[in-house]
Every structure is written in structure tokens, then in C-alpha cells.
Symmetry: C2
């Protein structure tokens, strides 16, 4: 028997649901690969179409434009991460241990999960590090936000915020600390690999050092 894992996606993210057709799944799979290979700026639907063996128009039937596709795969990523957080923390009682687990999930690389055949999670992780913030750093954030396109990110942030409050109910900045951990798990990774002098991990490029840094940051802050 094959296990399948589906992340429920907001309808506004696409014109036609890519999960419900072969072509749709190819768009996601090859889209992720192509964005990873060339970067989001150089990525075009034309190149993607050629890659897949379909036409530009075919892709436009699924996604309004490449920015929406990026939001889609980001939303998928955050939804998937939330799922992983749920799985890995639901048997843990101690909120401190929970939070440590979350930090590890955020900051360390992932292997491809075979239950999601049309998504390669390890590449996806790399994409979100480099391109993730471009989903919201635009003039249209508020508009996109009204369509709830960023909900998975916000849900995860809220979830982590609530664990922080479990650790210390009096801590004043649970949501800001949460978004700080999320962003920094990625930014420190990007800096480590590309602008190492902005970090203390440049020499050995070990993701676990990022975990240590984030743990130190978080637990110093919320210590009662």
C-alpha cells in the first residue's frame, strides 16, 4: 500500500488545482526544480513549459503568474512544516522540549518525503530560504493577505507563539519571537552559505550551530 499525504491548499492560490491532474503536478515538480536552478528572477513560464513539454498557455491555466506559483509552493512548504511540527511534538509534554524540536525542524535540512510524489522537500527547503520572503515583500502584500494566501505561515507562527507562551506565560513578545525564529532559521542558513561573515558559522557550515544559536536566543529570552 502506498501512503499519500495531501496538504489542503487555499483555492485562491491557483486558477485550477494543480494537485488534481498530471500536468498540474508536473508544474509543481518542475517549477520547484527550475526555480531552484535559475533563481526566481530568471524563472519564466516559458522555460517551465519547455521543461515539462507543454506550452506557456497551459501553465497559465493553473497559475495567474509566477508570483502566485511561488506563493503556492511557499504555502505548501509552511503547511507541510506545520504538519511535521504537529507529528513531532504531539507526544511531547514539556514545552521546552517541544520548542527545541520545532527549532530543529525549522533549521535543519530535510530529506525528500516519498509520500508527496510531486514535491521534492529538500530542494523546496532551499528555495524557501532564498525566495520565501519575496512572497510577501511586495506592494501587494495586504491584498494577498486579504485572500489569506499567507495563512499557513501565520498559522505556524501562531502555533510556535503558543508553545513559547507555554514555556513562559509572562513573556511579552511570543509572536515576534516566533517570526524571528522562523526568519532567522532561514536567513542564518543563507548567510552561512553565501555571506558567511554575517554569521559565526562560516568556517564549518554546520546547520546544528544555527540550531544552537537559535536555542540560546530563544531560551535566554523566555527564561522566567
Amino acid at each position: 500500500m502506498e501512503l499519500q499525504l495531501q496538504i489542503k491548499m487555499n483555492e485562491k492560490l491557483f486558477l485550477k488545482n494543480p494537485e488534481q491532474s498530471e500536468l498540474g503536478k508536473k508544474i509543481i515538480l518542475h517549477g520547484i526544480q527550475l526555480i531552484h536552478k535559475n533563481g526566481f528572477e530568471a524563472f519564466t513560464f516559458k522555460k517551465l513549459a519547455e521543461d515539462i513539454g507543454t506550452t506557456e498557455a497551459g501553465i497559465y491555466r493553473y497559475f495567474e503568474n509566477k508570483h502566485r506559483l511561488l506563493i503556492y509552493i511557499s504555502a505548501w512548504y509552511w503547511g507541510w512544516l506545520e504538519y511535521r511540527v504537529a507529528v513531532h511534538t504531539n507526544n511531547i509534554k514539556d514545552p521546552v522540549q517541544k520548542l527545541k524540536k520545532v527549532i530543529k525542524l525549522l533549521a535543519t535540512a530535510i530529506e525528500d518525503d516519498n509520500r508527496t510524489s510531486y514535491v521534492d522537500e529538500s530542494i523546496l527547503h532551499q528555495i524557501i530560504i532564498t525566495e520565501g520572503s519575496k512572497t510577501y515583500l511586495t506592494k501587494k502584500v495586504s491584498e494577498d493577505n486579504k485572500d489569506h494566501l499567507f495563512q499557513p505561515y501565520k498559522t505556524l507562527c501562531a502555533k510556535i507563539g503558543s508553545i513559547i507562551l507555554e514555556c513562559n506565560p509572562k513573556y511579552k513578545y511570543p509572536k515576534s519571537l516566533s517570526s524571528t525564529i522562523i526568519e532567522m532559521a532561514h536567513f542564518q542558513n543563507f548567510f552561512m552559505n553565501n555571506l558567511p561573515s554575517l554569521t559565526d558559522f562560516g568556517h564549518n557550515k554546520d546547520e546544528l550551530k544555527i540550531v544552537s544559536f537559535l536555542e540560546d536566543l530563544v531560551f535566554s529570552s523566555i527564561k522566567k
Copy 2:
């Protein structure tokens, strides 16, 4: 007498030095305004040329492309911030007070400095919040980094890192904490104004709350 303030810029940032001609200064001044108004993605040299009353080709004589222009104005911003940090901290002995000053400079809005006639610093601050990280979140980071295009950012980060070490010589992550402060000063501001549920400041949108959050974060972490 008129005071003038010049930030020395890396030669690789431009094809022709925009500080040394009227047209060049107009490109910076109107470039900043236009990026602020439309966002970087919608910004084009054609629109900028029309705005200024020159031609596209005229602008290409100064900057290779719009990404280089963005790096230029970002570099200018970080250089200018470093200058302000120097001015505002050089009479302070206590490193803790120094660091507090730095956090305030990073996280609060600025007024236009009349000594730099062709740059409007308050708009510039807004641009860097939204577009700043796009300077380095590209496939060409390493290349651009080799040309030292990010030096002002790195210098500022190093400077703040050294103040952190003054506060606590044993703290293990001065550079990562420094880049965290810098990025979060901006990201928390962006979130507060655009995705408020990612922060704890959404209701009153007060920059000073961001300062408090960052101070709490930093001083908990480096406390001996």
C-alpha cells in the same frame, strides 16, 4: 555655509559615478521615489527616465541594471547608518548604552538629512525595509559579494558584533546576533505594518515596541 555629507561608494556599484553629475543625482533621487511608490518589481529604467525627463539609455550609462541601482542605494543606506552609529556612539563609554543606541537607530524612522540633497532618508528607510534583502537573495550573491558590493552592510554588522562582544566577551554568536538585530529591526517593522499577526505590535504600530522587543532579545542573550 552649506554642510555636505558624502558617503564613499565602491566603484563597482556603478558605471559612472552618479554623485558627480546633476543627472546622476537625479537618478538616485527619483529612483528612490519611484521604487518607493511602485515597488522594485514594477520599477523600470524607462519609467525613471520619463520621470526625470531623460532617456533610458541615459540611465544605463550610470547603472548596469535596476538591480545594481538597488544595491547602490542599499549600500548608501548602510554606509550612512554606519556613519550615524559612529556619530551617536563615540561619546558613549558603556557598551550596553551603545548597543541600545544602535538598536534605536536601526529600528526607528528617520528624518530627511538636508546635508544629502539628492537622498531622502526617510523614504530610503522604507525602501530598505521592503526591498533591502532582495539585493542579496539572488543567484549572483557570491559574485556580487566578490565585488564587495555588500561591504557597508558587512562592516555595520561587524561593528555591532564588536559592541556585543564589549558587553560580554564570552558571548558565542556576536555576528549572528548582529545580523539578527539588523534584519529583525526591518522585518518586524514590515510585519507590524503589513502582516500584523506575525508580531505583538499590530494594534498600535509603535516602533518603540520593536525597540523594546529587540533590547529584550539582545540583552537576555548576552547577559553574563
